[in-house]
């Protein structure tokens, strides 16, 4: 069945370093991929998206890369800050419905 999974459940980085969170997906029909950030005690919040016809998209301190050949996307966070500590989810959507399929999440822990 369809799945969106992550390579690592936990990522620990030093403050100021760059972070890379990876995600693999199985559904080639996905039109959009979205990264969400979930802080403790809160619901997921939209960070950045990328359409399937793109391979890179940049936001403020974040970049998402999409490699359709190997069905892999990544979220890069530049100069990671303590406020970036959260669980990050990737999600894919496409086809006749507006459903998203979520990955299991990666916990990013930023060490001061």
């Amino acid at each position: 069945g369809e799945s969106v999974g992550l390579h690592l459940p936990t990522l620990s980085v030093q403050e100021g370093d760059n972070s890379i969170i990876n995600c693999a997906y199985s559904n080639s029909a996905s039109d959009y991929f979205i990264w969400y950030k979930q802080e403790s005690g809160k619901g997921p919040q939209f960070i950045i998206d990328i359409r399937s016809n793109m391979d890179k998209r940049q936001g403020q301190r974040v970049t998402v890369l999409l490699n359709k050949t190997v069905k892999h996307l990544s979220l890069q966070i530049a100069a990671t800050q303590p406020g970036d500590s959260a669980v990050y989810f990737c999600a894919g959507g496409g086809g006749a419905t507006n459903k998203l399929i979520f990955g299991t999440g990666t916990l990013l822990a930023v060490q001061p």
Partner: protein
């Protein structure tokens, strides 16, 4: 800003009780979703709705039902709560029609969640 609110942050219920979880969004979104979130399993879709009085089963609908009488409100009902329904429940909404193929249709806005414990 889109605001999605959920009726309770924390809820404790007994096995066999009927449980209602309420979700309200204030941005006139057509689509509303209910997920449960469990460690290591991510977000799993229980039910969703594209319009008033309309509902579709998600990936894990067993033991749950939903109601959407008004566009802004989507209720999740546990007919007879069981301990394996102890979880974090998240409501979300998005704008757009099914198959619209736009980012707005996929970009879901989430509520803060309800942590339900069934004893």
């Amino acid at each position: 800003d889109v605001k999605v609110t959920q009726s309770s942050r924390y809820l404790v219920k007994r096995t066999g009780e009927k449980v209602f979880l309420e979700c309200v969004q204030d941005m006139d979104h057509e689509n509303m979703f209910w997920y449960r979130q469990d460690p290591g399993l991510g977000l799993r879709l229980i039910y969703f709705s594209y319009d008033v009085k309309m509902k579709e089963k998600g990936d894990i609908p067993e033991g749950y039902s939903v109601s959407r009488e008004k566009k802004e409100r989507f209720s999740l009902i546990l007919e007879s709560a069981s301990t394996n329904q102890t979880s974090m429940y998240l409501c979300a909404s998005s704008l757009g029609s099914p198959g619209q193929g736009t980012l707005r249709a996929y970009e879901q806005y989430f509520g803060p969640g309800t942590r339900l414990t069934v004893t």
